[in-house]
Symmetry: none
Subunit: 233 residues, 2 copies
């Protein structure tokens, strides 16, 4: 299975950060030469990556990496925020710490009020802040040590996976509205600027809480993409 080897190799390169989010992959012919296969085989491998929402291929240009190390790729029907073609972004961790949040615990129906909070800001190449994401995951097991140890591969999804929290179901709400005063400061925008807003709650197969992510997204840089009825493999 050369196709799988190539897909696996490219997936690794993307999730490990060798190909950054927004970057352009080498041309298909170049990949074919590099892997010593035909272009058709490269294309079949790239189809797999596209299905997993790791890349976004555009005619006449190439394949852009659309993986920010944040979202789970497993539930393929997640609405994913896609950077418009070829915008390079960098991610900055605003905070990573253990918190207590009784409101969130009540909302999720949890008795445990301890969580790990991870807040991140994304900037485009020009340094303009384009998104603000707040993740909350349970402070159980190995995750409890994340603030001290850092994230696995710098990726929240990898850290969750390493902790055995594999999301299998969830809900997402997408809306739009004006930025609040505090968020506006973080994003360096005028208060009241309209942003896309997404709230996502994921649970594992046994129904326990896996992750809650709320995001503010600059509508000029992001749109949310959904795919239905075509997931297989």
């Amino acid at each position: 299975m050369k196709r799988q080897q190539i897909a696996s190799s490219l997936t690794d390169a993307i999730t490990s950060g060798r190909y950054q989010n927004g970057a352009l992959l080498p041309a298909e012919q170049e990949l074919a030469t590099r892997f010593d296969v035909s272009r058709g085989t490269v294309r079949r491998a790239l189809e797999d990556l596209a299905r997993a929402d790791l890349i976004n291929t555009r005619t006449g240009i190439g394949s852009f990496v659309t993986y920010d190390g944040q979202t789970f790729s497993d539930p393929s029907s997640w609405g994913r925020a896609l950077a418009e073609g070829g915008v390079e972004t960098t991610t900055h961790v605003l905070r990573l710490e253990r918190i207590t949040d009784a409101d969130l615990a009540a909302e999720l129906g949890r008795s445990d009020t301890d969580f790990i909070a991870l807040d991140r800001l994304r900037r485009d190449a020009a340094g303009v802040a384009v998104s603000l994401e707040r993740s909350r995951v349970p402070a159980d097991g190995r995750l409890a040590e994340a603030p001290g140890r850092g994230l696995v591969d710098d990726s929240l999804s990898a850290t969750l996976r390493a902790s055995g929290l594999v999301p299998s179901a969830g809900e997402q709400w997408i809306s739009a509205g004006p930025l609040g005063a505090a968020d506006a400061v973080l994003l360096d925008r005028a208060p009241g600027t309209f942003f896309l807003h997404s709230t996502r709650v994921a649970r594992t197969a046994d129904g326990s809480f896996a992750e809650k992510v709320t995001s503010w997204l600059d509508p000029e840089h992001f749109r949310i993409h959904l795919n239905f009825g075509v997931s297989h493999d």
Copy 2:
């Protein structure tokens, strides 16, 4: 697109009963000869049918029909626009007519440039316009008469179903942005007002176009809700 023509032809043969449930399709090489294409193209078409659960391919044997005549289920995982807090709305048809749209045909990869256009405006109880929806469906078969006859049950999806166009897969993009001048007039808002925007393209099992809907939604009245992972994958 030979692939799509072949998929469409085979889908028709299956749903019309020419290939009964459980029957074995002709061999790929035989189909290739019959359609006068290469085997690779036949295989890509069969992949589409398999993805739509119309056939089941087994190594060394062939492709069995797995379609029992039941209608395809609607893709239940569409992102649905939900009115906040039980706001009652009324829907007004702005237009329902046959149109020619070469750009849309090109975008969808269709040679037929005829479509049925249905534009609708929704107002809340106070009479404020809260959403604008433009639907485009193919002007094939019974649908071609919709402008004269009206919609089945006043519902576009019911009309589509009655015409044999059952969506089984698709994509949706959600973004946000300022209203254009023309849309602002229709919605009775100031140009540049920020609205949620959704574009949805649905296709039938054989990959042919079923419906395209673009919507502008007042972010104060609507949010989009997604639910997934509960029963499949």
